[in-house]
Symmetry: C2
Subunit: 391 residues, 2 copies
């Protein structure tokens, strides 16, 4: 009986807290300003100091209009002019994909610029981050981001990568540079890192502050399938990936031919986010003659498992000799947001336990207050890029 009473009091207390919390949620701070990634001249969407997103769309004949952001749908309200307006709960700092839903149709917001992610070209919004200076467009020397189209014989398809060259690349036609191969995540593509990822601005700023070595960054597409494999899909509906083969036999030789690279392992790094972290870990472990630096942002190759890793069988035993790997890999770097959902904390945690066990030296970074999203990865790149090519 006593226990029961305490439970009732506790429930009453919690329920009271929840009420207070809900009330405070409903007070919206009226300091909205247009998002920094709006289309030219567009006043909406807007963001306020709490990180709420307010959208506005004219749809006089519509019955129900919603803002769909962070896996929650918020009802908008129609005014007498047929204009719908409304806002979300506060969002995490950083970049988020979102969409509108108009009478059941999921469509991009005509006010925002569009980004490729979540398997589609669609709307994005930027919630200003406390540390946004590191990826801001500043009065420093800016490198170029070049679109490079190439034909892949392995996949029998045209492919594309974006290549960042540091500002000084164009100034001295003889100097050669190390290369970071930097990969996107699942349902994203080669556009991600140089647009919502801001890889070019992050490097421009780091290089201007002499915090990073001037380097080339190659951002390619992690989806690569041979024609004969396309009809054979796995449980997730995907064919066997040939990305490693494309990377080793096509992308790297092409980049080393077309750009002024230093083409040895000590001047080649590979990193990726989520699916890209998984892919690039496999690539470096299978090709230690080609890379000396690894960055895994929000992902490891044991994904999605959180089980203890059997080092003898994991990736064909590539992690059995931690000491040998310490001499071969100059920087082994892992990063994760503190708000990442399952299974990421568990699978990255299990992977770290294995590294600790084999005595592999690695850097582990936690991005405060961010989930499985681009601010986590911008921060990861910022930290990782400052450490590489310095041995």
């Amino acid at each position: 009986m006593k226990k029961h009473s305490i439970l009732i009091i506790l429930m009453a207390f919690l329920s009271g807290s929840l009420c207070i919390a809900q009330e405070s949620v409903s007070i919206v701070v009226e300091d909205f300003i247009p998002s920094s990634v709006n289309q030219p001249g567009k006043a909406y969407p807007q963001v306020n100091s709490e990180g709420r997103v307010r959208v506005r769309i004219e749809a006089p004949g519509a019955i129900k209009v919603q803002l769909d952001i962070g896996a929650v749908k918020y009802d908008l309200v129609k005014n007498e002019n047929g204009i719908w307006i409304g806002e979300s709960a506060p969002q995490d700092e950083g970049f988020h994909y979102y969409q509108l839903n108009i009478d059941g149709a999921s469509v991009p917001d005509p006010g925002s610029k569009y980004f490729y992610g979540a398997g589609r070209w669609g709307s994005g919004i930027e919630i200003p981050a406390m540390d946004q200076e590191f990826y801001a467009l500043k009065d420093v020397q800016h490198g170029l981001v070049s679109e490079n189209i190439y034909f892949s014989k392995i996949t029998n398809a045209w492919r594309r990568c974006f290549v960042y060259t540091p500002a000084e690349y164009e100034k001295d036609s003889k100097s050669r540079y190390p290369v970071l191969y930097l990969q996107h995540g699942s349902f994203e593509d080669e556009n991600g890192w140089s647009t919502q990822g801001k890889a070019n601005l992050i490097l421009d700023n780091l290089i201007a502050e002499k915090m990073a070595v001037p380097m080339i960054i190659v951002m390619d597409n992690g989806y690569a399938y041979k024609p004969q494999d396309i009809s054979n899909t796995d449980g997730r509906g995907r064919p066997a990936s040939s990305f490693e083969e494309v990377m080793i036999n096509e992308i790297i030789p092409m980049i080393d031919t077309k750009f002024r690279t230093i083409d040895d392992r000590e001047h080649r790094a590979i990193a990726g986010l989520s699916m890209g972290a998984n892919q690039t870990m496999r690539i470096i472990m299978n090709n230690l003659d080609k890379f000396a630096y690894y960055g895994g942002f929000s992902g490891t190759s044991n994904y999605p498992s959180s089980d203890e890793i059997d080092v003898d069988t994991f990736l064909d035993g590539k992690f059995t000799d931690g000491e040998a790997l310490n001499t071969q890999i100059n920087v082994f770097w892992l990063g994760l947001g503190t708000k990442e959902p399952d299974p990421f904390p568990g699978s990255v945690g299990a992977f770290r336990n294995m590294l600790d066990k084999i005595g592999l030296d690695y850097v582990y970074y936690q991005s405060p207050g961010t989930a499985h999203e681009w601010l986590t990865w911008r921060r990861a790149l910022h930290k990782f890029a400052a450490l590489i090519f310095k041995d």
Copy 2:
């Protein structure tokens, strides 16, 4: 009376023809295939052999959904699953902007890729053209398209241009190249020429066929205003343009510093479409020490007037001496689509009359079956680029 009878017969005949024409319009050829500029994996929008555009969108709660293309709105029809589908009348060959209208909301089609034009990022569709090979992605050497960010002191703003460098640019770090400055039209921006304009593919193909001299192409943004001018708008709501000043004092010096150009007038061309044709004509005529080639695609500086041009006052008398201009300008090139709307045929016609009068040698090209749209301009670039830097 006799004349009157003939008129009636003629009217009856014409009216009969119109009926037949309308009936034949309603028969839709069922050979639709996905548009070439769809988002990855999207089956709609589609295009058929007549050039009709068929769209499809799930909007179970919607009351009215329309396809808005070519300034006409076509009603879609809802099926039992809440999916709306429908198609347009046949469209001209080439690239068109379009949008969907869902219960009064004008939004991009979630099936298409997005392009900047008509003053917005929005949907685009490609109607295959009979001559599409000249801008097709082919197995030839491909140049790079580089995004170049720079700060403009004149406008006190960050600006951006895209720079095409031919494939051989990366192969020989000493060779230098002529430069074409290529401008977009009204309500477009620096993205246009290298995406829907296909300038890079057009040049890749021309250079591979040895039809054009390898050249650099600079595609900047034609909107440039000084901070003190922004509040003083003209009748069209625009401040005085400072684009010429930005081009001459900032863009050209930057490009000549950053890229391996041949920096004299004989190796510099300038061209533009519509508003860009108007702007670049003024720029070359004011700066004949800097440019020796001009291309005006669907536009001239007497726009929108079709009146006879007074050569003594037009552009401060810059066209008075046709013979002198013939020695200074190596190629003076004008292009226009045969289906362009008013005032373009009239104003370009009046301009040509003036050129004829002063005896200025020029090339005039008509793009068959195209209006004031990108296929006209792709063809114009294809013709123009093959003529320049050959003197």
